[in-house]
């Protein structure tokens, strides 16, 4: 009976793994489609604005990212990935970062705490009056970062299921 239970568990783990693999594959296809769509929209923008109007000349060599991928380790030892947008703050972080004094009189002032400002819209690198295709490209790439988060979340989970399955299989053998 114990062997039968083990086989049933192995089967269910394998099925789970295959379902997860199918879902991961479909998310990857959707992610690639968004990326391709974004690049094609950039080509359309070049068609409308001129080939040299949408390229490396329009943006600075060094820039602050608007989206970062942060890694951490969860309680179960799994690697956890998080897509964080610039400007996103947890409720505990909102408010004055450090104490600062202001003098009412006198010429000197202690610098006030740095106020966080919203990062500039990258669309403005190409001008204010940009065509719809460039906005579409931005939307595609932004959607892509959301889908990236879903793919990143699935992978460690699948790897854990896979190791558990292999462990059980070896134990059964």
């Amino acid at each position: 009976m114990a062997a039968a239970d083990l086989r049933a568990e192995l089967d269910s783990l394998l099925l789970q793994l295959l379902w997860d693999l199918e879902e991961l594959e479909s998310k990857r296809v959707a992610l690639n489609a968004r990326v391709e769509e974004g690049w094609l929209s950039l080509s359309k923008a070049r068609y409308a604005m001129g080939a040299k109007s949408v390229g490396p000349l329009q943006y600075a060599s060094r820039m602050e990212p608007q989206v970062c991928v942060c890694t951490s380790e969860a309680q179960n030892g799994l690697q956890k990935f998080r897509v964080v947008r610039a400007g996103a703050q947890s409720p505990e972080e909102v408010g004055p970062r450090e104490a600062a004094l202001r003098r009412r009189k006198g010429l000197t002032r202690i610098p006030e705490p740095e106020v966080f400002s919203a990062s500039p819209n990258p669309l403005n690198w190409f001008g204010i009056l940009v065509p719809h295709s460039l906005r579409q490209a931005q939307a595609s790439f932004q959607e892509e970062t959301l889908k990236l988060q879903m793919v990143l979340e699935m992978k460690p989970q699948m790897e854990a299921t896979d190791s558990f399955f292999l462990g059980l299989l070896v134990a059964h053998l």
Binding site: R46, A48, A51, L57, Q58, L129
Partner: protein, 351 residues
């Protein structure tokens, strides 16, 4: 009774008109485009272009071949032809050519000023400027902080000087002000070019004035469409519209108040030329964009310019048709390099 154009044009400009008509016959045919869209790689594209008037224009390019290199070499070839026409021209055709180059000069000035904002090196920027818009004071453009500085220090001796009348301000050149400067310069330039052609009279005015009227109206439509959802106010938008088109004055006033594409469509209901163009615009990502529809209309007008003789408009029309051909080739090259062939046939053939 023959007009003066038929009697006098060929004396000074007949050779160049013959030359430009020969160049026009060398534009890519439908069969050439069918060959290009079947290419699997950019190297295949290069081989097919060698059989056309482009010849070995990519022979000196090192591997790997990129879309940007193809575009740069095509521009260089066009510039070579244009400079030949210009160097052999007499008045008033030579002034006509100067007017044609002003549009490219404005683009170069804006590229240099925007590049300075992004801390790009002047050398990199100069390498990417349009060759048709080169002028000797270009290297000094990035030292200016305001439009007023730009005019007094750099552009006062260039052909762009007369177009700075409405652009003088002490505002720092940030992204919004650069966009306003670009459009105001272009507005002044287009109106001046239009007046030059109108004063010239004859067949040149009959051909060029409708073309420039369409260009003015197109700019008004595109500025309006692209300004939705931006920080540009309605009054600021209206100040950018060129006034030498069919929309002036009532159409421009209505367009300035439009808040979405549907309201723009209601404005063009009063204009028989533009109504079918707006009806041809697709909805969503599948159909044609407004820019595509305008490019198609521009191609039709430029092809029709060649049905008349003894006018300067053939040179303008040829340059614009060549530019459309370059856009087509770059589009096909982008689809090939991205392996995204579903939209590869979205080019505009030139009959």
């Amino acid at each position: 009774m023959l007009g003066s154009a038929e009697l006098c044009f060929n004396v000074d400009h007949g050779y160049l008109e013959g030359l430009v008509r020969g160049c026009k016959a060398g534009l890519l045919t439908q069969q050439d485009y069918l060959n290009l869209v079947q290419c699997e790689t950019l190297e295949d594209l290069k081989v097919h272009l060698q059989t056309t008037d482009y010849g070995n224009f990519l022979a000196n390019q090192t591997n790997p071949l990129t879309v940007s290199k193809i575009d740069t070499e095509m521009r260089r070839k066009l510039c070579g032809e244009f400079e030949y026409f210009r160097n052999h021209s007499l008045e008033p055709l030579s002034t006509f050519f100067t007017y044609m180059t002003c549009g490219y000069m404005i683009d170069n000035v804006i590229l240099l000023v925007s590049g300075a904002l992004q801390k790009k090196s002047v050398r990199d920027l100069l390498g990417r400027c349009h060759p048709l818009g080169r002028f000797s004071e270009m290297e000094a453009v990035n030292i200016a902080d305001t439009p007023s500085d730009l005019f007094h220090a750099v552009l006062v001796e260039t052909p762009l000087a007369p177009f700075f009348q409405d652009c003088m301000s002490e505002n720092t050149l940030d992204e919004l002000n650069i966009e306003v400067l670009r459009n105001k310069l272009y507005k002044s330039y287009l109106e001046a070019f239009y007046n030059f052609c109108k004063d010239h009279g004859d067949v040149t005015a009959e051909i060029m004035c409708p073309i420039l009227e369409f260009e003015a109206d197109r700019r008004a439509f595109i500025i309006t469409l692209n300004s939705f959802g931006t920080e540009l106010s309605k009054d600021a938008r209206e100040a950018l519209y060129p006034t030498c088109g069919q929309l002036y004055p009532e159409g421009l006033r209505l367009l300035a108040q439009a808040e979405d594409f549907e309201q723009m469509k209601r404005v063009v209901d009063h204009y028989g030329v533009y109504k079918p163009l707006f009806e041809a615009v697709g909805d969503g990502s599948g159909g044609k964009s407004l820019e595509d529809v305008f490019y198609e209309h521009e191609v039709k007008m430029n092809v029709l310019a060649f049905t008349r003789q003894f006018h300067c408009g053939v040179f303008y029309a040829y340059t614009k048709l060549r530019e459309q051909e370059m856009r087509n080739i770059v589009w096909i090259a982008e689809c090939i390099s991205q392996r995204h062939r579903t939209k590869i046939n979205s080019y505009i053939p030139i009959p």
